[in-house]
């Protein structure tokens, strides 16, 4: 059952204030995935402690990196259930995981950070993993 919208509003704003696009409906998810070119990061947000302590705090430093995705969006697991389910259809071979972060390059999933690699690491370590992936796949796309 979704939490009180008032309770989760700050959890949404922690990402949207960084310019992360919030996908609230299946249609918005479809539109976001319809654009294939370039790099794109999808963040599965969550109310759990590791989202608050590690996942969301990792996003700001990752996006400040000189190499960062062309587009960044988020769906909120447990809150925006239709949008989250539609997003997960895009990578159905991967188990559901929240929070998690998924990097796409030209529409192809190239890097996945599931919950178990978030819950026991610092925000700095997660940001470092993300920026490493940004660099790796940008370099690959330019080769």
């Amino acid at each position: 059952m979704p939490y009180d919208p008032m309770l989760v509003a700050p959890m949404r704003e922690e990402l949207t204030r960084l310019g992360v696009q919030e996908l609230l409906t299946a249609t918005e998810v479809d539109d976001w995935f319809a654009q294939k070119s370039g790099s794109a990061l999808l963040i599965i947000n969550s109310v759990c402690g590791c989202a608050a302590g590690q996942a969301r705090p990792a996003i700001a430093p990752a996006l400040e990196h000189p190499v960062h995705p062309d587009r960044v969006a988020t769906v909120f697991a447990g809150q925006d259930t239709e949008a989250t389910a539609r997003a997960r259809e895009q990578f159905g071979d991967f188990p559901p995981s929240s929070p998690s972060m998924i990097l796409f390059q030209d529409g192809e999933l190239v890097h996945f950070v599931p919950r178990h690699r978030i819950e026991s690491r610092s925000a700095e370590e997660i940001a470092t993993e993300l920026t490493g992936a940004f660099e790796k796949y940008q370099a690959a796309s330019e080769a």
Binding site: F94, P95, F112, E119
Partner: protein
């Protein structure tokens, strides 16, 4: 390590691999290890005699991309548990 609820042990909230004295191994989010059981939430099971993939292959895949939580809650008696290790360390 772990989050809040210190009475539930240091692995509370952490995804772990539980190996047992038998053919079963489990991956799930550790709820508690403090009572008579290791309690996992949202867990998946590997059975050495029934599954096509080896334990190493199964753990390797879970380490990379996670796992499907096919079992909502699993209670494993401490007497049957051989080891409990955080998945991210494997």
């Amino acid at each position: 390590m772990g989050t809040f609820h210190q009475d539930k042990g240091e692995l509370h909230g952490i995804t772990v691999l539980v190996t047992t004295a038998g053919p079963e191994s489990w991956i799930g989010r550790c709820d508690t290890m403090m009572g008579e059981h290791v309690v996992l939430l949202g867990a998946d099971r590997h059975h050495a005699d029934q599954d096509e993939a080896s334990l190493d292959e199964w753990v390797g895949k879970a380490s990379m991309v996670g796992f499907f939580p096919r079992h909502e809650r699993v209670l494993l008696p401490h007497a049957q548990v051989a080891a409990v290790r955080p998945l991210h360390e494997l």
